[in-house]
């Protein structure tokens, strides 16, 4: 999937036109452990690249979710709020976090492709 990009904070973004769908990577879920709570940004709110865009909590700890791209939140995924376990079972597909209207598509240039991200995740080990 060439239209998916990755951030160093372990988020993925799938771009379709000017809409980006964002979630956290499989690698991130493996580090977090069982996810039991998620808080998502409100529809209509604006988020800034690398800024806070929600929270995930595992049985162990709370972690911030960052957005890899700036934009306006168009939709958030209530299914993972109701059943956060979905994030562990299908993080890079069904358990997306939110969709946003991309403000500046040049921000995508700083993100990694799949191959670069896999290498980054393996080397960083965290």
């Amino acid at each position: 999937m060439s239209d998916v990009k990755y951030s160093k904070e372990h988020e993925w973004i799938k771009v379709e036109g000017d809409i980006g769908t964002i979630g956290i990577t499989q690698h991130a879920t493996e580090m977090l452990g069982d996810i039991v709570f998620v808080e998502l940004p409100d529809v209509g709110s604006s988020v800034e690249k690398d800024g806070n865009a929600g929270v995930v909590e595992s049985t162990k700890a709370a972690s911030d979710v960052y957005t890899p791209i700036s934009g306006e939140i168009m939709e958030n995924n209530q299914a993972i709020v109701d059943d956060p376990g979905k994030i562990n079972s299908d993080p890079e597909n069904e358990a997306w976090f939110f969709k946003l209207k991309i403000k500046d598509s040049s921000e995508l240039d700083s993100l990694m492709n799949k191959e670069e991200y896999d290498k980054f995740a393996k080397e960083s080990g965290n």
Binding site: V36, F37, E57, S58, T59, V81
Partner: protein, 367 residues
């Protein structure tokens, strides 16, 4: 300081443990199946916990030792039967808690199981209080393995015949591969189970036998969710030198006879707190919805006055919802009292509730 490893460290690695440092030891926080599955497996089957980082303190002595220990612990030790165990605490003069512990009467003295983070300090305090009159051994030649959950009795009985005859909170010596093990029927998960004190050299082969018979290794992560569901205190969270057993709602652990007569360290403060009431008290807290309130979350009354703080909070896998414990001002401690929890700058509704969150499955009580 170099990190310490228990004698099961290699077995943890072989079972793909994720490690954390805990009280100077490299300990498994979870294995590959994850905290929720490990938690549920313990509740339905049998979980093995390496708790070898905890202190196993043997104190040798006769009636003089019993008398001296009664000056320290709020227990009726003279009437404690051979091989019976009691939950208790080591306190300072103001009844603040240095540590919570399990003390067991042995033929030649007492065995005290201490928290890993406190054991060295406990040893110093006890040596000084006992004026070095008795032989005290913090035995790091022995491992401590807990096996917890409803199938544990059946599994352990295959290896140590007659272990099933032990009553809750009592123990005995057993023989395994020509060595002596001390086994107590106890634990800290809210389930029936055992704690096995075994030589370091046999710990791994013994644990492998438990594994072959269907038990699974469980990490400290699930140990924490299990004890919190069971409403049990954890040192460094609910218990500290700033908290008394009365405030921690542990009056049940103080022997009635000793409450009347006093004469143990901290007894003055305990007796006066029972008479006048403690200002703060430990309670169970059930957040509404799925919100998790972690340790140090501020607790407010409905009128938004600060009334306390959360000491432990997580998601309870068997309760299938968030749970917490904390301390609140006495007047807000009644069940069903509505409170507010401040998480990430916002206040969320919660209710004071009874403990435990999850009903215990202990076998018949010994006393």
């Amino acid at each position: 300081m170099e990190i310490k490893k228990t004698s099961l460290n290699k077995l943890h690695q072989d079972n793909k443990a994720k490690f954390v440092e805990f009280a100077g030891y490299e300990m498994p926080i979870q294995y590959s199946s994850g905290i929720i599955e490990e938690h549920k497996f313990t509740r339905s089957n049998s979980g093995i916990f390496d708790v070898s980082h905890m202190g196993q303190l043997f104190i040798y002595g006769d009636e003089n030792l019993t008398n001296d220990l009664e000056d320290i612990f709020p227990l009726d030790l003279k009437n404690l039967k051979l091989n019976s165990s009691k939950y208790s605490f080591l306190m300072n003069n103001e009844a603040g808690i240095h540590d919570d512990l399990i003390i067991t009467k042995l033929e030649e003295g007492f065995l005290i199981i201490l928290n890993a983070a406190c054991k060295d300090n406990d040893f110093k305090i006890l040596s000084s209080l006992l004026k070095d009159k008795y032989k005290m051994v913090m035995d790091d030649e022995r491992s401590l393995i807990a096996i917890q959950g409803p199938k544990s009795v059946e599994i352990l009985n295959l290896i140590l015949k007659t272990v099933a005859d032990l009553n809750f909170m009592s123990g005995n010596w057993f023989t395994y591969k020509d060595q002596k093990l001390y086994v107590t029927r106890s634990g800290y998960t809210g389930e029936d189970g055992f704690e096995v004190s075994i030589s370091n050299e046999l710990a791994e082969v013994f644990t492998n036998e438990l594994l072959v018979n269907g038990a699974k290794l469980i990490g400290l992560g699930a140990r924490d969710t299990l004890r919190l569901e069971a409403g049990l205190c954890l040192y460094g969270h609910e218990l500290s030198t700033d908290t008394t057993p009365i405030e921690a709602n542990l009056k049940w652990a103080i022997s009635k006879e000793r409450l009347n007569s006093g004469g143990f360290i901290g007894s003055n403060n305990i007796i006066s707190q029972i008479k006048d009431g403690a200002k703060k008290i430990r309670v169970g807290i059930k957040p509404e919805g799925r919100l998790i309130a972690r340790e140090k979350t501020k607790i407010y009354s409905e009128s938004e006055v600060i009334i306390g703080e959360v000491t432990s909070g997580t998601f309870g896998p068997s309760v299938n919802g968030p749970i917490a414990m904390g301390f609140v001002d006495q007047e807000f401690s009644k069940k069903e009292t509505k409170i507010l929890l401040e998480v990430r700058g916002k206040k969320y509704p919660a209710n004071i509730c009874g403990l435990p969150f999850y009903k215990k499955n202990y076998v018949k009580g010994a006393n």
